[in-house]
């Protein structure tokens, strides 16, 4: 039964993730007085990219450069085995919160190594920023995980979904909201792919199918993180969970894309500093959780 559920969740994610991006593009267009592209546009883009041929820069390490997008893509797919998206699948025989975090770590790692292998200066600078951001983001995330673990007395999702209602859990979720925003490479924090100075950074040499995979990866990652935060909130066995979940996703994407449309890009050091401050807040939240509020 679970297996089927997981399969359905996976399929759902694969289909819906680009649509969510299309939806967000529509919202941003609306906030910028534009007619936006249609919601399907992201899907068309992906299909076009998958049709295009790929190229290999001559300074690149071919094998790594070519393999990296696939690993990146599949590692986030693997995370979908664990986090229930559409249907409430019990996943405690596969993995827990720690595993999800580290799978995303794997994704980042392979993404970055692929970029480094492309041998382009912009890619190196970009992935350098990416890793710096990842490390500081991980500090905040670590505190949140600690808080959640202390609150839920567990790390496996069966125990954690939904999180018991406390002050600390609310604050933790708020911080998680921020981390997710950072992790989903959105505008104030898309420093690694900053277009004006380092031209999409790590992605610069990637083209065609590779690029398509990496873009697809980003959309899947976003949906995954959405589902994570929603699962923490919505009771897993609730009959109306499905509707709540879908509404939640829509709300999240509206809020996120509004933020994205109305923030200027941070410089990398500013971003790291912000995350550092946030993690100090997280430390306090952790204390609150330990106290037991």
């Amino acid at each position: 039964m679970n297996i089927i559920f997981i399969a359905i969740n996976l399929a759902f994610a694969l289909i819906i993730a680009p649509l969510i991006d299309g939806f967000e593009r529509k919202i941003r267009a609306r906030l910028q007085n534009r007619q936006g592209p249609s919601i399907l546009q992201t899907w068309w883009d992906l299909i076009k990219l998958f049709k295009r041929p790929t190229i290999e820069p001559q300074d690149s390490i071919k094998s790594l450069y070519k393999l990296a997008p696939y690993i990146t893509f599949t590692s986030v797919l693997t995370a979908y085995l664990i986090i229930p998206t559409l249907l409430p699948a019990s996943t405690n025989f596969i993995g827990d919160l720690i595993l999800v975090v580290y799978l995303l770590g794997l994704a980042t790692l392979s993404f970055v190594i692929g970029a480094f292998s492309s041998g382009n200066a912009y890619a190196q600078i970009g992935s350098n920023r990416d890793v710096s951001l990842f490390m500081s983001e991980e500090l905040l995330l670590a505190f949140i995980i600690g808080t959640i673990a202390v609150i839920g007395k567990s790390l496996s999702f069966d125990q954690l979904f939904p999180l018991p209602f406390r002050i600390s859990s609310l604050l933790a979720l708020l911080l998680l909201f921020l981390v997710i925003y950072v992790a989903s490479t959105r505008l104030p924090f898309d420093i690694a792919e900053a277009e004006p100075e380092i031209i999409e950074g790590p992605l610069i040499e990637y083209s065609g199918k590779h690029l398509g995979l990496l873009k697809y990866f980003v959309f899947l990652k976003r949906l995954l993180l959405y589902s994570l935060i929603l699962d923490f909130i919505i009771p897993i066995q609730n009959p109306i969970r499905l509707t709540c979940y879908l509404i939640g996703i829509i709300i999240l994407s509206i809020v996120y894309s509004t933020f994205e449309a109305y923030y200027g890009r941070f410089r990398i050091d500013q971003a790291i500093r912000i995350l550092k401050r946030a993690s100090i807040v997280a430390l306090i939240v952790w204390m609150i959780a330990v106290v037991g509020w």
């Binding site: 600078i125 100075e197 200027g264 410089r267």
Partner: protein, 536 residues
Amino acid sequence: MILEILKSNNAKILRHDEKVTVALVPNDKLRTTAELLFKAGCYYATGAGVDERLLGVGFSMYHIFNCEVEGRYIIIKAVASNLKIPSITPIISGANWAEREVMDMLGIFFDEHPEPVRLILPDDWPEGVYPLRKDFRYNERPPRVEFEQKREKKPGVIEVPVGPYHPALHEPEMFELYVKGEEIVGAVYRGFHIHRGMEKLAEGRMTINQIPFLAERICGICGYTHNCAYVQAIEDAAKIEVPERALYIRTILLELERIHSHMLWLGVAFHLLGFESGFMHTWRIRETFMDLAELLTGNRKTYGMNLIGGVRRNIDENKKKGLSEILDKTKKEIREIFDNATQMRELINRMEGIGVLSKKKGREIGVVGPTARGSDIDTDVRRDHPYAAYGDLEFKVPIYKDGDVLSRFLVRYEEVLESIWLIEQALDQLPPGDILNEEYELPEHTICVGATEAPRGEDVHFAIMGEGNKVYRWHPRAPTYNNLPAVPIMLKGEKLADAPIIIASIDPCFSCTDHIVIVDGEKVYRCSLDNYLGGL
């Protein structure tokens, strides 16, 4: 007092009136004259070399100084004795490019020039072929010559190429940033990738009333002020009475152009800071001004309104009414947008204290326009050399002291509001009468200069009248030509992430700068601004 200086250096005054002073200075006195003028508060505007062999003089160099205190342009002429003229770059570093340009284009050599290498001509251009000499036909194309690239990698830094094709630059130019981690430890500029041969074209083929349309195409954004500058130069030479109404119409259009140019820049600035919605808002408002221009002139951008002696289209009553209505509306909107946008901390943080240019450095290089006003240099051609109708209108010149990107940003923002105010005044006081005066005859061999305050700064056109409805020599100088050398200074020690906004902060208009050159061919890295700006 200028006259004293010139006389004391036994210069021969060729022309002296309220606008322009032209003097022939003996070569041995050239440097002292230049120094004295510089000390007296005249700033080096530009220099132009002329092949005057047809006038029986030989090759000569014109150094054009902008004397703000007296509101006049001083043109020092020096005649080359067997192709040699003493260089004034050791005294005025601003003359570096001008003199090198003349070296490339006319083959006049400047003694003791610190850096006598090619600036403009590409490396595959044959030695000893000088495109601006009169015996070089305007449609001639010399053969390529082979050359070897000599260049070694810099260890310990990444050499980040910015351009020729880079989204941060909207025109093909080449910066090369030496980056350590995120910090820029050095920068190098290589320009002159665009080659349209306008000067040669104007001298070779065009009649005096056709050149305005060529001049308008020097710049893709602020073409009309070039057009005006040229027209003013000729009118100044021929002493033409331009109808009042025409002057007012010119003023209106100039300010309209300034507004749309600044709005464009502000939008781009937002875009470079990653604030896309700000970009959209700004350009949404800019669009109304584009439509206004279209309404008044029949085209969004290239107005084509000027002829020698006036303008071609009138502003009738209902156009006037529509104009003032729209202005009222948009003024409020602009205020709203920018007052709110400047409350967004992250934008301000990205601009505050970034890319600082000190007043002293700025004077040395001779930066102009908002770049200068951003670093506390109080200069504005509209006020110092009143042209068009600016004499009768009142406006204030915004000055900021910090010299960082933010102050340039604010200068431009305030200038937008000032321009709207100017247009409103001009519309109110728009005098009646005709708009074009075609009764004039053109003098021969008169040396004249016209200047306007382009959105990017002072815009100087130097011309010598020729026989029969032609110009003998025409040398426009775009503001970016003076501002570019400041960029590497601003870049040094900043973060790579700030490079685009810093480069953009002078509102560079590369094509305007490059318009002169006549050839194309594959450029390689050669000249480095740093070499004379105490660089890397």
